[in-house]
Amino acid sequence: MWWLYFKQMPASDTHTILHRVDEIHKLIAGNEVPRAIRRSMDFIKEFSNDKDLLKQILVISSQYHRINQELSIGIAEYAYADRARNQILFGMLTLIDQVHSSYSPQMY
């Protein structure tokens, strides 16, 4: 399992790609979704050359923005918004995992 490496890391300020993944996971678990989206954008741009993945996170960002707008003007039901939010969160987690799984330092 990929997070096994947390146990093997030295206690220092040195960052690894796992730190970055964990940062986004913590933001999601802590309900800091806007920042989780922003950091996911940074993560994908920094660790992937795949433009499609970048486009996918932009779509996720748009969807999240749209749901919040619909909620704020009262045209979305909470149950629908909750489902949509969860789809966004799973989409984001999957994207991050995809970039993480395919990351190779030799790419840069």
Binding site: T16, R39, M41
Partner: protein, 404 residues
């Protein structure tokens, strides 16, 4: 590898009494047990949903999700295979010298900036602080290539061609400079961002992608169809940042970006600035001037304190407390000065004075903030705010700073 099975009954019981702890523990346990990634993702989302619900207790539908997840965990198979070794390779932010200045000087009638040396590296944030008319703007303009120094040397290793005379036009176009006073954007916000990317060589699909990226990254979607005059001060700054960053500069200069911003906007902008500087693919050297000392010290790596044109401190933030022969504390409370002096009598205060509605206390290095606080509380003094300034540049702004 941790076996999660014995914890399931406890997790189930905890749900009623302490859902906050239960959902948090569930995330940790799945992670420690190396269960399937999908279960971990479900636990993260469930924890998110619980916090999103804003309830102290888990709503019914989330209880059902929680029970279902526990069931899936108890039936979970073997852990997934280990990741490849590249996952643990350290990520480093490339540190390139973008600006090197030595002994920089500039003289005006009645004012002299003198002997300034600094080095701006990608991945580093340098804070420039000082009172009004201390020379901050002059130094910024020199670094931005908008003003020629009278003395000293300036180099831009990333932008200059070796052995050639400085091509100032080329250098200036490589520096992103966000001034305190914004000039109105005449064209639409979107067109301006596309244009800015294009003049820096980003064309076609790349241009579209970079512009969309920066719009979303800085949270500008809702405002992209507005005109410049319809934007608030905070969003004008964000659009200026977008224009500066859309072409991935190596050097970003921000002159008083936090002025007139509310606290929430300040913290988001500071977070963004820190993230952008530390970007591993497009790292930026950032020079930022500000009067918001606490906020700026929170993100800066280095700090320059200018006083009457001289850099009285020019080192890493971590060195601010180095060699301090005394401790300086700032206290805000309603008690009279005599009561404070009486409360701290046993600590042998070196100095106690009032400035800007706050008290400033100086003690010997053996006196900790815990000792000061404890004495104040014991004397029944209600503290509004308290701060140890020993490791803050704010100490320079108080009188008698020469002694620190």
């Amino acid at each position: 590898m941790k076996d999660i099975t014995p914890h399931i009954a406890q997790l189930s019981a905890e749900l009623e009494s302490a859902p906050r702890t239960a959902t948090s523990r569930l995330v940790s346990l799945i992670k420690e047990a190396y269960l399937e990634k999908n279960l971990y993702f479900k636990a993260l989302v469930l924890r998110n949903n619980f916090l999103q619900s804003g309830n102290e207790y888990l709503p019914e539908h989330l209880k059902e999700d929680y029970a279902q997840l526990l069931k899936e965990i108890s039936q979970a198979g073997k852990p997934e295979i280990l990741p490849k070794a590249s996952a643990s390779i350290p990520i480093e932010v490339p540190a390139m010298d973008v600006f090197i200045g030595a002994n920089i000087g500039k003289t005006y009638p009645g004012f002299e900036l003198k002997g300034i040396g600094l080095r701006l590296k990608t991945g580093e944030i340098t804070a420039l602080v000082g009172e009004n008319a201390s020379g901050k703007s002059t130094l910024i303009e020199i670094i931005a290539g908008a003003l020629q120094p009278d003395a000293g040397q300036t180099e831009y290793p990333v932008f200059e061609t070796k052995n050639d005379a400085k091509d100032w036009r080329k250098i200036r176009t490589q520096i992103a400079y966000v001034q305190q006073e914004f000039i109105s954007w005449n064209h639409s916000l979107l067109e301006t961002l596309h244009f800015e990317a294009a003049v820096h060589g980003i064309h076609g699909e790349e241009n579209e992608l970079e512009v969309q990226f920066i719009i979303h990254r800085l949270g500008l979607q809702e405002h992209i169809n507005k005109s410049w005059s319809q934007l608030s001060g905070g969003y004008k700054l964000r659009f200026e940042l977008a224009r500066a960053l859309v072409w991935h500069p190596s050097l970003l200069i921000l002159d008083e970006p936090l002025a007139n911003l509310d606290v929430n906007t300040q913290s988001i902008i500071l977070e963004d600035i820190r993230d952008l500087a530390k970007n591993t693919k497009y790292p930026v050297a950032i020079l930022i001037s500000s009067q918001h000392l606490t906020e700026i010290e929170g993100i800066a790596d280095r700090l320059i304190y200018l006083h009457k044109g001289v850099a009285e401190f020019n080192a890493r933030i971590a060195d601010l407390a180095k060699g301090a022969k005394s401790h300086l504390f700032e206290l805000e409370c309603r008690a009279p000065m005599e009561a404070i002096a009486q409360a701290l009598k046993g600590l042998h205060l070196a100095e106690l004075f009032s400035k800007g509605g706050k008290y400033v206390l100086r003690t010997g290095p053996e006196v900790s903030q815990a000792m000061v606080l404890s004495n104040l509380v014991d004397a029944g003094i209600t503290i509004i705010s308290f701060r140890d300034l020993t490791a803050s540049s704010k100490k320079f702004f108080y009188e008698n700073k020469e002694e620190f």
